[in-house]
Structure formats: structure tokens, C-alpha cells
């Protein structure tokens, strides 16, 4: 089946997650071969996900682990008494 751009957009997220069925995947890939706009949308969405997973994007506050460990240690000490 020949897909239009809107149809491809509706499935972009599932396509990225590889949860579309084989036939739809094939149709989407066929469309992507000829459509620069959808390819760019797919790439930009993927890159946003890569960037999201980059440790530098969502960093823990400075000293987070140290404070957490101190708090847990206190709690463990308390529970011993």
C-alpha cells in the first residue's frame, strides 16, 4: 500500500520502537526512500531520543549520591536501635 506522509507520521513512534508489523514497516520504508521530509522528521525524532539518553542532558544534582548515601546510612543506623 502506498502511504501518504500523514500516515507515516502517525506511526513514526512505533516505527522507531520497532513495534509496527512487517508489512507496515516495509510500506513506511518504501515511503522514506522517496520522501525527504518524512526522513528528516524520523531522523530528528531519533536524534531527540539519543539526546535524551545522553547523560549530560538530564544530570543528577551535584552531590546527589553523597547526600543519598548519608541519608540511607542514618536510616540504617536508626533501624538498628
Amino acid at each position: 500500500m502506498k502511504l501518504d506522509c500523514k500516515h507515516v507520521w502517525e506511526h513514526i513512534s512505533e516505527y522507531i520502537d520497532n513495534t509496527v508489523d512487517a508489512k507496515l514497516r516495509e510500506d513506511i520504508e518504501l515511503h522514506l526512500e522517496h520522501c525527504e521530509i518524512c526522513s528528516a522528521i524520523l531522523d530528528s525524532t531519533r536524534n531527540i531520543l539519543v539526546l535524551t539518553a545522553d547523560d549530560r542532558t538530564f544530570e543528577l544534582p551535584v552531590g546527589y549520591s553523597k547526600r543519598l548515601h548519608e541519608r540511607l546510612r542514618e536510616e540504617i543506623e536508626k533501624s538498628k536501635h
Binding site: 512505533e14 530528528s44 539526546l51
Partner: protein, 176 residues
């Protein structure tokens, strides 16, 4: 994991950190009740979500179940924004600090139900079932919310990507 889950609910670093500490203590106290029905990470995430919701109710004075009842009420346009210029080098784009900052802000400003699913799926890397379990919603809702969140972020970040659009299919690095 626990901190970011809390942050996705509370949108405040200090509150998220306090909540994360509380969640870890809670997990420690109730470790014996973990029976392995779910993965440990999902169990921990559920504790964090409950802690976050408790804090949110306290600060906002919300009704007991108001957060859980949020549904896909955001009618509207969840289509992505087209990019046409993609000649610049992707690595340079992704290395830019302001792009990371823009993404942080955009994620923080997503409507709650979309932000929570997005963070659990794309940041914590929980799968669809685990995300559904942790948020007590059905897997179909996870998929819809995730799609909408991603499209909203794509649209929001296009102004930053426009001049730095990546070469075609440059990043397949993650198992998505």
C-alpha cells in the same frame, strides 16, 4: 532512575531529591515485600511515582485521585514539524549545549501525562509493559502518550534543529 522519575512528576530539583531519598528509604523498609512479580526497577519506580504523587497532592492540595484520572484530554495537533535543511553535521548539533538545555526545558514543559511516560520510556528505558505497570495505565495509553510526547518535542525543537539538521539516518546507536 528514582530521581528522574520524581523530577518528571514534581519538576523541581530539590523536591525531587527529597522525594528520591524518601523513596529509597521506603524501598529499604519494605524490601521484604518485594516478591519479584515485577522487575526490581519497576517496583522501585512505582514507589517513586507514589512518593511523587503524594508530594504533589501536598503541595497542590489536589484531590486524591486527580493525577491518576488524567486522560488524553489534549485534543489537537500532534503532527511533527517538517525539516527541509539537513546538511549540517549531526554530531555538532548534538554536542551543542543549548540544544540539551532546550530539550530539558521542553521535556519539563510537556503536559504531565506525556512527560511521565516519556521519561520512563525514553530516559529510564522501561519497556511499554513496565511503564504501563508503573503508572497503572494500559499499554495502549503508553503508546499514544509516548507518540504524542515525542511529536511535541520534535515540533518544539525544530527551531534548534533546523539549521543543524542531521544527515540522513545518522544515529541508530540505541536499541529503541
Amino acid at each position: 532512575m528514582v530521581y528522574l522519575t520524581l523530577f518528571s512528576i514534581l519538576k523541581n530539583e530539590t523536591e525531587a531529591e527529597d522525594g528520591a531519598q524518601e523513596s529509597m528509604i521506603n524501598a529499604y523498609r519494605h524490601l521484604a515485600s518485594f516478591r519479584g512479580d515485577a522487575k526490581f526497577s519497576t517496583w522501585l519506580t512505582t514507589i517513586a511515582i507514589n512518593e511523587g504523587r503524594k508530594r504533589l497532592r501536598k503541595t497542590k492540595g489536589q484531590a486524591e485521585d486527580s493525577i491518576e484520572e488524567q486522560i488524553e484530554e489534549h485534543e489537537g495537533d500532534f503532527t511533527p514539524a517538517p525539516l527541509t535543511d539537513w546538511r549540517e553535521i549531526p554530531l555538532e548539533a548534538l554536542e551543542r549545549k543549548e540544544l540539551r538545555e532546550a530539550l530539558r526545558v521542553a521535556v519539563t514543559e510537556l503536559p504531565d501525562i506525556y512527560r511521565q511516560v516519556f521519561i520512563l520510556r525514553d530516559l529510564e528505558e522501561l519497556n511499554i509493559e513496565e511503564t504501563a505497570q508503573a503508572l497503572a495505565i494500559n499499554p495502549g495509553a503508553v503508546k499514544v502518550r509516548l507518540h504524542r510526547a515525542r511529536m511535541m518535542l520534535q515540533k518544539r525543537l525544530v527551531p534548534y534543529l533546523k539549521t543543524t539538521a542531521p544527515a540522513r539516518r545518522a544515529f541508530f546507536g540505541r536499541a529503541l
